[in-house]
Amino acid sequence: MAERKKPKLAVWKFSSCDGCQLTLLDCEDELLAITEEVRISYFLEATRKVEKGPYDVSLVEGSITTPHDIKAIREVRKMSRTLVTIGACATAGGIQALRNFRNVKEFIRCVYAHPEYIDTLTTSTAVSDHVSVDFELRGCPINKHQLLEVLNATLNGRKPNIPRHSECIECKQNGIVCRMVATGQVCMGPVTQAGCGTLCPGKDRGCYGCFGPMETPNTPSFAKWMKELGTSDLDVQRKFRSFNANAEAFRKESESHG
């Protein structure tokens, strides 16, 4: 087989906690294989060595929260053949999108000694709200196996196997006994996209919705059921307002409660 030129990989960060980038470093066993197949050209979390674009694949972490972010993400888009956003911040605005529901100026006044230094947008939004995105990988943080699958698929020119269905299907495949039905805990699984590897339900915790809305979330029916299980209206709102608060289906449902 002919030696192929190694594709150039770039990893970018916007408003985020770095956890999703760390998932790439957390690949440990697979990391050497990755470096054999791609040239890591820009990844400040891992190395100061920087190579100029254009890049074959860009992984983008973080949400767009400042005027500078808007300019920067447009530059990244221009320099990237394939742009994959990773994590709840980049795909939905992240936990910091809670600001979208309040007055940001008030926050700045309360928090900063010198509010005049702060130049921020009133919203935290997904990368896809600003530039075209080739693939959105969900999660807070993303799942390592899914990241590898997206890289594998991208490098081999195939569609990634990343299902958009509910978390429930993953729980059932993994033999997890439903926390909501068997214990009465509220679990966001039925309206949340699969992919985390049943992390919380496997540890006797209802799903927190880290992977955002599943493909066809029936949030009104689910909210009604949560209330029947004894959840207050305010808590229903809170359930929808976490890491994916600004994902459309969760945002809309949260606005009907509280």
């Binding site: 087989m1 697979e30 294989a33 990755i34 054999e36 197949e37 590898l148 699958e149 890289l151 594998n152 698929a153 490098l155 081999n156 195939r158 196997n161 299902p163 958009r164 269905h165 509910s166 429930c168 299907i169 059932k172 495949q173 993994n174 033999g175 997890i176 006994v177 439903c178 909501m180 039905v181 068997a182 214990t183 009465g184 679990c187 699984g189 039925p190 309206v191 006797d204 599943m214 493909e215 066809t216 979330p217 029936n218 009104p220 029916s221 689910f222 009604k224 059921w225």
Partner: protein
């Protein structure tokens, strides 16, 4: 699992301790013994080390979208109704590797699937679950393209059936004609009798393998009174079903694609796919090809899928069933109505899992009843 062999062996009385011997004997014969035990707030089917793992003194409470373990005072080993998932996950695993392929100098080579692991010994199969095995055996038994994996796992399995002496609130096997009495498809069947004076099992063999094993276990010949007690208890369970299916209307669902009830149930349905995952007869899968980074190795996997996902009905250009109503209708119509045309029986065995494990408690029997009600002459004219 035996075929159509009928039980001719005489019933024997096994003491509770004999179950240790049963499990030990099966292990010694090389079986992987799976059966009920308590874990994760439920009685689940899992690997058993011995009879001590059985859910002694545990029962359950089930209703729409609700399951709770309940302590029972009598110390029964099989005092629960059904586990969250049936035997499907053993006979038809959620993820199966079909083959692996390697790039070679001249092209690629295909590695055959791994050989079958040790045969299964299933402890505590209920009548509805045996009915589900029969249904899946037909589904995977196409004369030209049978599923060799499923057929072999089922054929090699040793099945110990335990008839229900109580029915749960979401049970309706009696109306489906699938239980609670066990008629066929077992190596050994038992009825548990617990009262103040004794804790025994009335056991009968249903195959040569079963006869041999029962002999090894010893046990006195059951008296007529014991057999009667067993029959009476199972008959009592038949009368205490929490639900019933209107099978006539169920069969007619294919004639009612425009029924207004579909939209009503769609308002509640989460399209989460739980009903299909826990259904012991739902068999749909998707096929995924995975590659390594170099592209030198590929694998083909078969994974449980659900007609409630968007991808399920994806063909070139888009998904056919974009509406929730269309997906729910597809599932229930296939299960209860067109299954008859395709496989010669209903696809529902009345285990009630889709009711209990639906996160919002949608009830398949209630949906059929509502459609029946709306189809009554008085309500006609609003098709």
């Amino acid at each position: 699992m035996p075929g159509a062999e009928t039980a001719v062996a005489t019933a024997v009385i096994l003491q509770r301790d004999a179950l240790d011997g049963l499990i030990e004997a099966l292990k010694a014969k090389g079986y992987r013994v799976v059966g009920p035990r308590v874990a994760d707030d439920a009685v689940i089917y899992d690997d058993l080390d011995g009879a001590d793992d059985l859910p002694r003194g545990w029962g359950d409470e089930q209703k729409g979208g609700h399951y709770r373990l309940r302590k029972r005072p009598d110390g029964a080993l099989f005092g629960y109704t059904t586990a969250p998932q049936g035997w499907k996950r053993f006979l038809y695993p959620p993820k199966q590797k079909l083959f692996a392929a390697r790039r070679t100098a001249s092209g690629f080579a295909v590695d055959p699937p791994a050989p079958e692991p040790q045969p299964l010994a299933i402890i505590g199969a209920r009548a509805c679950e045996l009915a589900a095995m029969r249904v899946q055996k037909r589904v995977f038994g196409d004369k030209d393209y049978p599923d060799p994996g499923y057929q072999k796992r089922l054929a090699d399995a040793f099945v110990v059936a335990v008839e229900c002496t109580e029915a749960g609130d979401t049970c309706f096997c009696a109306s489906m004609g699938t239980g609670p009495a066990v008629e066929a498809g077992f190596d050994i069947k038992m009825v548990e009798l617990v009262d103040k004076s004794r804790h025994v099992f009335v056991a009968e063999a249903g195959s040569a393998k079963g006869t041999k094993l029962l002999k090894e276990l010893g046990g006195d010949k059951a008296k007529d009174a014991d057999r009667e007690a067993a029959t009476t208890r199972v008959a009592k369970a038949a009368k205490s079903m929490g639900r019933a299916m209107d099978t006539a209307t169920a069969k007619r669902l294919k004639e009612l694609p425009e029924h207004p009830r579909w939209e009503q149930v769609a308002a509640r349905c989460l399209t989460c796919g739980n009903c299909t995952m826990v259904c012991p007869t739902c068999f749909c899968t998707t096929v995924e090809d995975v590659t390594d980074l170099k592209g030198d190795n590929a694998e083909r996997w078969r994974k449980w899928d659900s007609c409630f996902t968007v991808d399920f009905s994806y063909i070139h250009g888009g998904s056919i069933r974009t509406e929730t109503a269309a997906r729910y209708r597809q599932w229930i119509t296939h299960k209860l109505s067109t299954w008859h045309d395709q496989f010669g029986s209903s696809g529902c065995v009345g285990c009630g899992r889709c009711i209990t494990w639906c996160p919002v408690g949608i009830d398949i029997t209630e949906e059929v009843a509502a459609i029946h009600q709306a189809e009554k002459p008085a309500a006609k004219g609003r098709k």
